[in-house]
């Protein structure tokens, strides 16, 4: 967030603290307004995430359960088919007739082609009702006459004299291998049990059947029999010792006739696994689909990850939008604050201006009083001195007349000082109305007037070409009069007083110069030159009030120009002033 400081305001006297606090309160609400929808988005996201997680987990689990179910159905159908084969073989009329009369060997020959027609059938064996081997294809003379009544298939088929699919077992005849048996009773026409037909089926067959079922990455699908021995398992050797899986909870669950899916930790590897189990109902077997949880949930986790990324993007987008919006709002507010500050400054400027104007009015009042009240007693001093001279002049001696003269001339001098001071103060108070001014004509006019007022010899005044200016003609005439008048005054003691008036244009500035060969001045006192009532010469040498140059400077400054001078004692002085030449001053 950008800084909430207001734009810098230099003057500590300007109070802007109140708006800052007010806007600070507003910001608080602003951030609450932003945080609420953000919290809503996050909460909604968390809830949705949980729901989707649950759904995807259920989907992953149910996928495995479905696989196990499908396999169970398939296994069941295959076993059905084996039973059908066994029943149809045992039901042949001629076969039954031969069995009925005890001609086992001949009966066996009828079945001679069975292993060839059904490659998954390893062997067909015939038993009498007591479980003794009576014949078989292929022929295995070494077991003829041996009783196998201890086998599970025998116990199963004799339980109700119905077809029975057995546990996995290692067969006795060479070469010995792991098989399971499908035992079917052989009956006479009158339904009397004559013996048992046993199909021994290779375990590889089941593996072939279930190969088409894909349990996914790193998953295994296996089948256990009634005793929890593995019928087949893609990762275990089919031949060899039987493997007992009864310790697995999912196996015992399925053998108890229950189906389901559970997440279990493999006690050997410590991996989390997803295990779906499904009983094969008619035959007491079970199908187990076992997959590492990582693989089972890979799709789910990927999807959740994408969703998290999408959420992060949404939140980031919201944050960015909020940031930009707040930037805009704050900038607008800052602009408003700047405006308010400006308005405040303007108000203060207006206030100060009013105070200044009031002060100016007071000053005007003061100069009015000076003009009126100070002149009155001066007039009285002068007048009464004159009356004294008129009425009592005969009784005064020479010294008395001289003293009266000093009184009168002092009063007159003071009157002139006051008048000059008032003139000086008036310049700059009145607004300028600039117009084109013929400076050459003004200078000529002023030179004539100054020469006429000269005490001594009439000076030679050379007027050069002067560029025109813009300004107040009366005030600029006063400038010329004061400068040329000074030049005349201070060169009056020379035998051949010379005064030069010149001008030139430099860039957009008109520069004018009044030079004389008079008494000059010492540059050490330059800083006093243009001060009010500042004089560089004694009154006896050159009379004056010390207002002339101050007036010149004030008028020129009022026009937007500058005044400067150069001088050397007894080597004359040059006074310069500049005025804007083009367009003039609009002051």
């Amino acid at each position: 967030m950008p800084d909430l400081e207001l734009p810098t305001v230099q003057s500590p006297s300007i109070s802007i603290t109140e708006p800052v606090h007010a806007s600070g309160r507003k910001e608080w609400w602003y951030f609450v307004a932003l945080a609420l929808p953000l919290a809503g988005i996050v909460l909604l996201g968390a809830l949705t995430y949980r729901a989707i997680d649950r759904e995807l987990t259920a989907a992953a689990l149910s996928r495995n359960a479905a696989l196990a179910g499908l396999t169970a159905v398939m296994v069941s159908e295959k076993l059905d088919r084996l039973v059908d084969i066994g029943v149809s073989l045992a039901d042949r009329v001629r076969f039954r007739e031969l069995i009925a009369v005890g001609r086992w060997v001949e009966a066996s020959r009828i079945l001679a082609r069975v292993p060839a027609e059904f490659p998954f059938i390893d062997r067909v064996a015939l038993f009498d009702v007591d479980g003794t081997v009576m014949g078989g294809i292929p022929d295995t003379p070494e077991v003829i006459g041996r009783s196998f009544a201890y086998r599970d298939w025998y116990r199963g088929v004799t339980r109700a004299w119905k077809p029975y699919v057995s546990e996995v077992y290692r067969r006795a005849a060479a070469p010995s291998s792991n098989v399971f048996g499908v035992a079917v009773p052989i009956r006479s026409d009158r339904q009397q049990v004559l013996g048992v037909l046993l199909l021994q089926v290779r375990l590889e067959t089941l593996l072939d059947w279930t190969r088409s079922v894909d349990v996914g990455d790193a998953g295994v699908l296996y089948v256990v029999d009634q005793r929890a021995n593995v019928v087949f398992h893609p990762q275990l050797p089919l031949q060899g010792d039987l493997v007992d899986f009864s310790a697995l909870p999912s196996v015992s669950e399925a053998l108890a006739g229950r189906k389901g899916v559970r997440e279990e930790v493999d006690p050997r590897s410590g991996d989390a696994r997803v295990i779906a189990y499904q009983p094969v109902p008619k035959y007491g077997w079970a199908v187990i689909a076992d997959q590492p949880a990582r693989a089972a949930f890979e799709a789910r986790n990927d999807q959740l990850r994408y969703m998290l990324i999408a959420y992060a993007l949404i939140v980031a987008l919201f944050g960015l939008t909020a940031y930009l919006a707040s930037r805009m709002v704050l900038e607008r507010k800052q602009a408003a604050d700047v405006q308010r500050t400006n308005a405040e400054l303007e108000r203060r400027v207006a206030e100060r201006t009013m105070q200044l104007e009031a002060a100016m009015k007071e000053l005007e009042g003061f100069s009015y009083s000076v003009s009126h009240d100070l002149r009155a007693p001066l007039r009285a001093i002068n007048g009464f001195a004159r009356m004294l001279e008129e009425d009592y002049g005969e009784r005064l001696d020479h010294e008395g007349h001289r003293l009266l003269g000093v009184v009168r001339s002092s009063a007159t001098q003071m009157g002139r000082l006051i008048d000059d001071l008032l003139d000086f103060s008036r310049v700059g108070r009145a607004p300028l109305t600039p117009k084109p001014v013929d400076m050459a004509a003004l200078a000529r006019d002023a030179a004539g007037e100054a020469a006429a007022a000269a005490d001594g010899a009439a000076p030679a005044i050379e007027l050069g070409p002067l560029p025109p200016a813009r300004g107040d003609p009366a005030l600029l005439r006063q400038v010329w009069l004061n400068l040329i008048g000074n030049a005349v005054k201070f060169s009056s003691r020379r035998d051949a007083p010379r005064i030069g008036v010149s001008g030139r244009l430099q860039d957009s500035v008109a520069i004018y110069c009044v030079a004389d060969n008079g008494t000059g001045f010492d540059m050490r006192y330059y800083d006093k030159l243009f001060g009010v009532f500042q004089r560089l010469h004694r009154q006896e040498e050159f009379s004056g009030t010390g207002v002339g140059l101050a007036m010149v400077q004030r008028i020129v400054a009022h026009h937007g120009g500058k005044v400067w001078a150069e001088g050397r004692p007894d080597h004359g002085a040059s006074f310069f002033f500049s005025l804007p030449a083009k367009g003039g001053s609009d002051v």
């Binding site: 009015y368 003009s371 009285a380």
Partner: protein, 148 residues
């Protein structure tokens, strides 16, 4: 006392005794000072003009021929006195000369806008002062004929 006012032709309103004395002296040189009455503030001037207060008995058939008025006066100032003279039909015709030490332009503008007949700035130098006063007095008393 009312008899004394019959001959009065000039009313001088001036709060400064020194200025009043110099004005009277200047006018006397031209024999204009004898029939002059001097009052020191604006209120008394208005009383004289309207025959009020101490001047209740002054006769109305002998009008003044000139009022010489100072600008800054106690009680009622010169501008206000001028405004009242020019507002009253009875006194409107009397020439009024404003004499002041003020060189401020605004006084001059105010005075002329109220119908003053002359506006004179008192010079500091007595010789100039005397000349100015006597010129003004002579002009309004001798050359200018007021409609009777």
């Amino acid at each position: 006392m009312s008899e004394a006012f019959e001959q009065i032709e000039i009313l001088l309103v001036e709060d400064s005794p020194a200025d009043a004395e110099m004005t009277m002296r200047a006018l006397r040189k031209f024999n204009l000072g004898n029939r002059l009455h001097w009052v020191q503030d604006g209120a008394e001037a208005l009383d004289f003009l309207r025959r009020g207060g101490a001047y209740a008995g002054r006769r109305a058939d002998h009008p003044l021929r000139l009022v010489v008025l100072d600008l800054k006066l106690p009680k009622v100032d010169g501008i206000e006195v001028l405004r009242q003279i020019k507002a009253d039909p009875e006194t409107r015709g009397i020439p009024v000369v404003m004499m002041t030490s003020s060189r401020e332009e605004r006084d001059m503008v105010d005075s002329y806008s109220l119908g003053v007949n002359s506006y004179v700035v008192k010079p500091v130098d007595f010789a100039d002062f005397a000349e100015t006063v006597s010129k003004v007095g002579l002009y309004w008393m001798l050359t200018n004929r007021v409609p009777e």
